[in-house]
């Protein structure tokens, strides 16, 4: 193939067309005319202010995780642990939010919650960072394992009253935390009908700040250097272990912030499956973006739109929401397959 035909954007274009055709075929097999399916999908993606807000919120969660992934990747590490970092960040955010007095204003409460989330996620990722720096244990395997342990921490927090479970008053008390005080809830942005919250601003800001730091500061250059060649960087006197651990901690911190934001969005409680696979999808977004922060925002937006469109596909015309999951994964497989050989 020629160079143009192999350009990542062209490849992504082919992959999107093939995946979209597969999606239409699946909708048709489930008994829905392609036109109706597309209408329902678009309606769910961006048909109403409510749909737009929901899609933006999902996209922002994915973008935060993927920005973090990109930072760690710059230092030469693959962070597979987004899901666990998100969960622990959510637990930390909820714990901090619930400890706040009921009357606290949002100007003070929200930053506390966000910082707690960042700290929780960063601490969780640092377990893997320390093991990598001290003992050379592969971060791919430790972050993968820490996902499941992190989800266990979340489970324990919401199932036991000693931790964050709301007081059990009857057999119907759900295993979740009490609702956060009003001052710890993320404020809405934009119109009243749209659920879009401050997380959208945070995600865009994180992408911009990260892009500037990676490209225009000495820290960014050091991280990049450690990523390209740990041996050469160490010989130049760079603290490679600390850079690697730091990159991973930032990745965990951003995922943890996303977790805290999810908890501080309606219905404002910490519940067992609040992370719902965002961590893994965020990893895929980061990988597809291949180090470009503009691409992170674009791919995250696409995935956020698809997820919300898929929910409406099931609600409006009865096509299983799994269809969108199939289309998304086909897209990733096709892109990964066509870009693999180049490395």
């Amino acid at each position: 193939m020629t160079a143009v035909a192999r350009h990542p954007i062209v490849v992504s274009g082919y992959a999107a067309v093939v995946a979209a055709l597969a999606g239409l075929l699946l909708a048709a097999v489930a008994g829905t005319a392609p036109g109706d399916a597309v209408n329902a999908l678009v309606e769910g993606m961006a048909g109403t202010p409510y749909a737009i807000g929901g899609s933006l919120n999902s996209a922002a969660v994915l973008a935060l995780i993927a920005v973090g992934f990109t930072v760690a990747h710059r230092a030469g590490l693959v962070n597979v642990g987004g899901e666990g970092q998100l969960a622990v960040g959510g637990v930390a955010g909820a714990a901090a939010g619930l400890a706040l007095p009921e009357s606290i204003p949002a100007v003070a409460g929200v930053p506390v919650l966000l910082i707690a989330g960042f700290a929780g996620g960063a601490a969780w990722a640092s377990i893997a960072g320390l093991l990598k720096a001290r003992r050379g244990t592969s971060e791919v395997i430790t972050t993968l394992l820490l996902n499941f342990v992190g989800l266990g921490v979340l489970g324990l927090a919401v199932h036991e009253e000693v931790f964050l479970r709301q007081p059990v008053t009857s057999a119907e008390t759900l295993p979740q935390s009490a609702p956060l005080p009003a001052g710890a809830r993320l404020p809405l942005i934009g119109s009243a009908e749209s659920p879009a919250t401050l997380i959208v601003v945070l995600a865009v800001a994180a992408a911009i700040v990260t892009a500037v730091v990676l490209r225009h500061t000495a820290t960014g250059l050091r991280l990049t250097s450690a990523g390209f060649s740990p041996a050469a960087s160490a010989r130049l006197g760079l603290p490679v272990g600390r850079l690697e651990a730091g990159g991973l901690a930032v990745a965990g911190g951003l995922a943890g912030t996303a977790g805290a934001c999810l908890v501080a969005t309606a219905p404002y409680v910490l519940a067992e499956h609040f992370s719902s696979g965002y961590g893994f999808t965020g990893l895929v977004v980061g990988l597809l973006a291949r180090g470009s922060l503009t691409a992170v925002l674009a791919v995250a937006l696409l995935f956020g739109l698809l997820t919300n469109g898929g929910i409406n596909l099931q609600l409006a015309v009865g096509v299983p929401a799994a269809t969108v999951q199939i289309v998304q994964s086909l897209l990733v497989v096709l892109v990964a397959a066509s870009l693999g050989r180049k490395r």
């Binding site: 244990t137 430790t142 499941f148 989800l151 489970g155 893994f280 299983p320 799994a322 999951q325 693999g340």
Partner: protein, 306 residues
Amino acid sequence: MSAIVEEILAGGVRMAAPLLLASAGELVSERAGLLNLSVEAMMLTGAFAGAAGALATGSAVAGVGCAVVAGLLVAALQALLSVTLRADQIVTGITANALALGATTYGARLLFADSGQTLAGFEPLPVPVLSEIPLLGPALFEQSALGYLAFAVAAVLALGLSRRTPWGLAVDAVGEDAVTADRCGLPVRAIRYAAVLLTGAASGLAGAQLALAEVHAFSDNITGGVGYLAVVAVIAGRWRAWPTLLACLFFGVAQALQFAAPAAGLHLPAPVLVTLPYVIALLAVSGLAGRSRAPSALTIPFARTA
């Protein structure tokens, strides 16, 4: 008390059987240098195809055949991606799992729409005399036919990995240093394809066991992470056959404890038991509990350079 212990052991071995099978397959792949996170996809697709096959033909054995074929198909896709196309193994593995979850959930909507059907399946076959042994008898000798097959296949896969067999030696050579193995004339890609396909067949069989021997039905996401647990067992077993087997049994018993502990009046929070295997694997891989070394070429694709 001994009745409870017997029950926990029997439940543990029953839950360990599919895990053992998938882990034995995964061990072959990892020793050959491929981190197959798609075991979950292979098991889930196997369980779905097993249930669909048993529904269509009314025969549980035909269902098992379908399950193995389905596991092989997912494995062929994974091998194509990670061996021939040299795509990122972590991305393609996680994505294959998402694809399998989506596809089987979609398929279940179409095929098993009226829920509550019971499929042809396998019943426990106690071995006379041996199943009467106190404590261990019910655990080991009251499996279904598929259960005994699982132990046999897992044992063959594990023994085959011994460095005393040409196959085991070749797998290790490819997984440690593919370039050198290639220079010595070993067919690196063929061996890696074979390893992934073996994983697929074993995982498909493990999936069939979940759907046909334990519950006689398919439900969405029936594997629920057992495939990931199989990968974790290999890590906790430090990439060696016998420790991996022990890890599987231990994980099975930890799962069985979840159900048995409340009956015995013990309050063990479920999340702690569910998480235990991952903590153990973490300790094992970080060298905090014994020495551990992954195959050197794990996740590194092979390309012959001039």
